[in-house]
């Protein structure tokens, strides 16, 4: 019958002790030598008694060895019928779910706390003495191997489990499987390999369903999973929070500001509910608020919250940071979102053009730069500082410290000037390029294409429109002009385009002409790069009447403000996703809101927590703010069924056994383990100890019997005979 041991090393030590009686026996034989004269009588007696003596000694020695053996079996906790033979060392791959879903509150505890208890309970079933090891993997995206390769230092692993805290990221199943595969590859011995996913089944189910590719199935001896929590809970999370305008210019145009918030509702959605929304600044001052009333079954909602921007102070770089906060619900970690809002006292605009008289010419021609100036500052400066730069000296004159560079005579720029423009773009300056009205050459466009290869079409020409074409009143949501969508629709009717640059497709159009060709293309560069906009129409009445139309002012203002704002702001990153690291970023610091105190350089996994990061350049200046948003989609609180999870587990785990761990409390988990190991172990070990006791008693009785027999025989002989003889 196959058998195994819970503590095979103890058994081995105990079994080795069997040699003790034998050694004692041998030592006693070797201990003393007697030179004896009457050997002939001793030999004669020995011949007579040898068989009996040998038999008695063998019986006693066997009983003593059995005594030790049974004690060893008892101490080693023999188990019969376990596995295919003797128990092998177990390797437990413990995946601890510290994702955002683990922060969900259940009663007076959290999912994470319960997962920790389950994990520690399973950890307690391991025995490092017999070679058990454990690997610990943090499941929060990006999944991190905390203890890998597997270690037998269970105390340290336990401590690490106890220190785990919930993040704002999702369960990174693909990452987890990658680390699990490493454990398998690195395993040098064929011990039992168990995978335990100490997780809320909700996040796990969400992670499985989010996998795009069918994973390679990992072979396991068994899988332990927590039973899904059957009680539904209501949770509302913030999917996104985006300001209507991405740049706040003081003393500029007074435009209404609001934050567009996308909410997701999950769990107990069968009834009506309401959600409080507050917007506060870094001082804790309320900047806006609202209440969302959810209808039965409603799961998502987009809501705009108007905010006050007066007196906002920059908290990260030149951006103010606002915090959108929801009321309490099942999971607090998806109830907050941070909204950076770049602030400028004035926009600094450089216009690169040929030096020409800005006055209206005799033919009534107005130079493009003048049209642009008029649009940027129709009523005085309006918070816009404009600098004119001679195109032929652009390489030297274009310096850092501008927010936008308009290139109105691109044909005039030499290579050095283009290099300078490109460098500014790399440093986050918005570049707007309009066709050159004085030159037919389009060679400059190659440089533009070089700045953003692939974003613009291959074939570029200047097309004349006969008859003139108008503008498409529709604005795509991704366009920089989306903020003036309603005005745009109203003002496009009076615009006619006579000539335009034939821009290819491939980039986001800011707007389109009625023939479908783009009015301009916008390209968001790599992280940290400035917005690049190429217009198809020059600011010249020979190209279109747009400069003379009211739309021009609104369009230029919106183009600049949104472009500058987006150039400075990095797109929000979902917690757990890789952080953008532009080449100029030397360090990243977390901004503690409400205290405005930057913390030290973030360690690995910082992006697993929602917040605002300050991106600093080599000079230590914070040049951009990076918002990390909690993964609200991963915090859904819908009820999932065991069968549903089990079916999904089979997609990536190949295991003959899947055991559910009671999630109600750790005591129940413990009892499951006791049923699996403890009962049988104790029963057999007890029998072994009883057998040891029986052997001990029998040995004692037999030894006493043999001795008594000797003494009796001696008494029978009597000292009298010997005395008389002597």
């Amino acid at each position: 019958m196959p058998f195994s041991f819970l503590h095979p090393l103890l058994f081995a030590i105990g079994a080795a002790c069997i040699s003790i009686p034998i050694i004692i026996h041998l030592l006693k034989r070797r201990r003393r030598v007697v030179s004896w004269g009457a050997m002939r009588f001793l030999e004669e007696a020995y011949r007579k008694r040898r068989r009996i003596i040998t038999l008695e000694q063998l019986v006693l020695l066997s009983l003593r060895c059995l005594l030790v053996l049974f004690i060893a079996l008892g101490v080693g906790s023999i188990m019969l019928g376990r596995g295919t033979g003797t128990r092998q060392a177990r390797t437990l791959i413990l995946v601890l779910d510290d994702s955002i879903s683990s922060a969900r509150i259940i009663g007076d505890s959290t999912v994470l706390e319960r997962s920790k208890e389950s994990a520690i309970a399973e950890l307690d079933t391991l025995d490092p003495v017999m070679g058990d090891r454990v690997a610990l993997i943090s499941a929060s995206s990006p999944a991190r191997p905390i203890v890998l390769p597997p270690s037998d230092d269970l105390g340290a692993v336990r401590s690490l489990i106890e220190q785990a805290v919930s993040s704002d990221a999702a369960f990174d199943l693909e990452g987890v499987l990658g680390h699990v595969a490493q454990v398998e590859d690195g395993a040098e011995r064929e011990g039992g390999r168990q995978l335990m996913i100490a997780s809320d089944a909700r996040s796990f189910e969400h992670a499985v369903s989010g996998m795009q590719d069918e994973p390679v199935r990992q072979p396991m001896d068994s899988v332990l999973l927590p039973s899904p929590e059957p009680t539904p809970a209501l949770n509302v999370g913030i999917l996104s929070a985006i300001p209507t305008r991405t740049l706040l210019v003081r003393d500029g145009l007074s435009m209404p500001e609001s934050i567009q918030i996308e909410l997701i509702r999950s769990g107990e959605v069968g009834g009506e509910s309401s959600t409080q929304i507050r917007v506060i600044d870094t001082e804790g001052e309320s900047r806006g608020s609202g209440v969302v009333t959810w209808r039965v079954g409603e799961r998502s909602r987009s809501v705009g919250i108007a905010i006050r921007t007066d007196g906002l102070q920059a908290a990260a770089a030149s951006s103010a940071v606002l915090r959108v906060q929801l009321g309490e619900d099942a999971n607090p970690r998806d109830n907050a979102a941070y909204v950076p809002l770049p602030i400028r006292n004035a926009l600094r605009v450089a216009i690169v053009d040929r030096p020409r008289d800005s006055a209206i010419g005799g033919g009534g021609e107005i130079p493009p730069a003048r049209w642009l100036r008029a649009a940027l500052a129709p009523r005085g400066d309006m918070g816009v500082q404009i600098t004119s730069v001679d195109a032929s000296q652009a390489a030297a004159r274009l310096v850092q410290g501008v927010d936008v560079v308009f290139v109105l005579s691109p044909a005039e720029l030499n290579d050095a000037a283009w290099d300078r423009v490109e460098r500014l773009r790399d440093q986050g300056v918005m570049i707007v390029i309009a066709p050159d009205t004085q030159s037919e050459s389009l060679a400059w466009f190659e440089r533009v294409r070089g700045m953003r290869a692939g974003a613009f079409g291959q074939v570029v020409d200047v097309r004349a429109h006969e008859p003139a074409v108008g503008l498409d009143p529709r604005i795509e949501p991704a366009s920089l002009l989306v903020g003036i969508g309603s005005e745009f629709e109203q003002l496009t009717g009076a615009v006619s385009v006579f000539r335009s640059l034939g821009l290819g497709s491939g980039a986001q159009p800011i707007a389109s002409m009625s023939d479908g060709s783009p009015l301009g293309l916008q390209v968001r560069g790599a992280d940290g790069e400035g917005m690049l906009v190429v217009l198809a129409v020059a600011f010249d009445l020979g190209w279109s009447n747009l400069p003379a139309r009211p739309l021009f002012v609104a369009m230029v203002q919106e183009l600049v403000r949104q472009g500058v704002g987006l150039s400075e702001l990095f797109p929000p990153v979902i917690a757990g996703d890789p952080l953008p690291r532009p080449s100029w970023v030397e360090s990243v610091r977390a901004i503690e809101l409400h205290t405005e105190r930057p913390v030290s350089d973030p360690g690995p996994g910082l992006n697993a927590s929602a917040g605002v990061l300050a991106l600093r350049d080599a000079q230590g200046l914070t040049r951009a703010a990076q918002v990390v948003r909690a993964d609200a989609e991963a915090a859904v609180a819908d009820v999932v069924e065991e069968a549903q999870v089990a079916e999904q587990v089979e997609r990536f785990i190949e295991a003959p056994e899947l055991r559910w761990i009671g999630a109600q409390d750790a005591t129940e988990t413990r009892s499951v383990m006791d049923d699996a190991f403890g009962g049988e172990r104790n029963r057999l070990a007890l029998w072994a100890l009883w057998a040891a006791l029986a052997c001990g008693l029998l040995e004692f009785l037999l030894a006493r019997l043999f001795t008594q027999r000797l003494l009796a025989s001696e008494r029978a002989m009597g000292a009298e005979g010997r005395g008389a003889r002597a």
Binding site: R29, S35, G37, R40, E43, E44, R49, R722
Partner: protein, 341 residues
């Protein structure tokens, strides 16, 4: 229990031999006392002194020069021995015959085989601070020590009585021999032979007896001092040869107390002194069988001796020599009387 058995505790409590104690024959003849005496000669003299001092308590008559009987005078008899009083009363010439006139040669056969090297008593037990080792470096009082002391004492007594004494030290053959002589100086030779001979080899009493008897022409009293650890049949044959040649014999079987009691407790390896194989045993388990075996052997030796009219006595190395020597003297007297008649 014999009152003269002295255990180690008693020994350690014994005071050094004082002058007053020298008159106690028990002390003189006790092996503990003998072990303190460095030379064989001194040892033998002490034994004899003890024996003589204890005569008054002996059940046997003494060996003084006493009248035994008359016989008719024949030509050639020494006229000094004529009994003039008888002649005056009966007018017959009668010669007075005394016991000492009947000389009886004593031949001592001392076993020097390996088994005689055994002895469980320590020299230090007996001698206290006086001596820890025998002159040859042995730490124990062996059966051979006891045998030689006995032999020397017997030789001393015999020579002092004017009889001849010879010595043969044997093992598997005769290894040393001192021709019979009544000279005082011969006793010194006997003592030297006993003191210097090595103790080893196995025993072959048949061969030794043949060799011994071949050298003896007249009737002798042969005293074999040995442990008799050999085949009983050989012993019986040896006794038979002695009887056939008309000699008298005393078999003194010298045994150690440990050999007679075998009171070992712990398992040990027992190695023989005569090239027997070593055996590892638990003594408690074999005690009964061993004692049966050795007692049977002693009984057989005794039985064989008595069957030929010889004396046999077990001599323990832990006991005093008085009874042994007294028996020897009595036996000599009896033999002398028999011879005189």
């Amino acid at each position: 229990m014999d009152e003269h058995v002295v255990n180690p505790v008693e020994t350690s409590q014994m005071p050094p031999v004082a002058a007053s104690e020298r008159f106690d024959p028990h002390l003189y003849l006790h092996p503990q006392t003998l072990s303190r005496l460095s030379t064989m000669e001194l040892r033998a003299k002490m034994i004899v002194e003890g024996v003589m001092a204890g005569q008054h308590r002996s059940p046997y008559t003494g060996v003084s020069v006493e009248f035994a009987q008359h016989r008719p005078y024949v030509a050639g008899d020494d006229i000094r021995h004529l009994d003039w009083k008888v002649y005056a009363r009966t007018d017959k010439l009668q010669v007075k015959q005394y016991q000492q006139e009947t000389t009886l040669d004593l031949v001592l056969l001392v076993d020097s085989s390996g088994s005689m090297r055994f002895g469980s008593r320590l020299f230090s037990d007996a001698s206290g601070s006086a001596r820890d080792m025998a002159p040859d470096g042995r730490p124990n009082w062996s059966k051979f020590d006891h045998a030689t002391a006995t032999a020397a004492a017997m030789a001393y007594i015999t020579i002092n009585q004017g009889d001849r004494v010879g010595l043969a030290v044997y093992a598997d053959e005769l290894r040393a021999m001192v021709e019979r002589s009544a000279r005082k100086s011969s006793w010194k030779q006997i003592v030297d032979a006993l003191a210097t001979h090595p103790i080893d080899r196995e025993t072959d009493i048949l061969r030794v007896m043949d060799q011994t008897l071949a050298k003896i022409s007249n009737k002798c009293l042969i005293v074999i001092i040995s442990d008799f650890f050999e085949d009983p049949e050989h012993i019986r044959s040896a006794f038979a040869k002695v009887k056939h040649r008309g000699h008298d014999l005393i078999a003194l079987q010298v045994l150690d107390k440990a050999e007679l009691s075998f009171e070992f407790e712990d398992p040990a390896a027992f190695e023989g002194l005569e090239s027997e194989a070593t055996i590892r045993i638990d003594p408690r388990a074999l005690r009964k069988a061993y004692l049966e075996s050795i007692n049977n052997h002693i009984d057989l030796v005794s039985q064989h001796a008595r069957s030929f009219g010889f004396d046999h006595k077990v001599v323990s190395t832990h006991k005093w020599l008085g009874p042994t020597l007294a028996k020897f003297v009595a036996r000599r007297n009896a033999a002398s009387t028999l011879r005189g008649s």
